[in-house]
Amino acid sequence: MKIAQENKNDVVICKIDGEINISTSPELRKFFDNLVQNKTKKIILDFTSLSYIDSSGLATLIELLQRIKKIDGKFYICNMSDKIKNIFEITKLHKLFEVFENQELALNKF
């Protein structure tokens, strides 16, 4: 997994390249922790290049959601592939997360 960070005003966009799975989750968690420690309250996870996620990856995302809520922040997800969207819908996690079609729509929501 690679994470490319881009800042747009006070929003941090994280483009995730690769997989969020049981062995890459710690990396994502660490990256996110750093952002939260630096008081970043607006985060977008861009899933354009996310090729795979498993149930431990889903658990990690739920964890991140709870952390950002604790500091009164928000994180949005955008650019899910149809397959990833399908996994979110099956598990009904699309109701827990705020998911947008693209970066622009997510940015405008903050």
């Binding site: 049981i22 795979y52 739920i62 149809d82 099956i90 009904k92 109701k95 827990l96």
Partner: protein, 133 residues
Amino acid sequence: MISEHKLNLSLKDIPQFTKNLVGELKPLDINKDILFDIRLVIEEALANAIKHGNKMDLTKNVFLKINASSKRIDIEIKDQGKGFDYKKLPLPTEKENLHKYSGRGVFLIRKLMTQVKFFDNGARIKMTKLLKK
């Protein structure tokens, strides 16, 4: 293509292993979204076998069989644990469970496969995906 595996993987090795395992099916020319599902269910079942079945004991093995054609994929995974009550699992999609970190593995397997059956009290799972061509 049929393959049988006797494994003693640790949890962190699972994604790499399943990626290669599913990669071996490429000659069968199966749609990539289906390969995504197949990889995911194998990963979930392997993680359960290692974590809950064998309780992380690396002297215990997990046994995996795959029989794949362009028409159907049959997978069997067996651990050396005591099994579990697979009929009494909470639904992860209920409101009170949606925030939980765990409890989605077996549910995803059931949703993504055409047929799922447990044996040996739950220590052995057999699952099938029928493919339309």
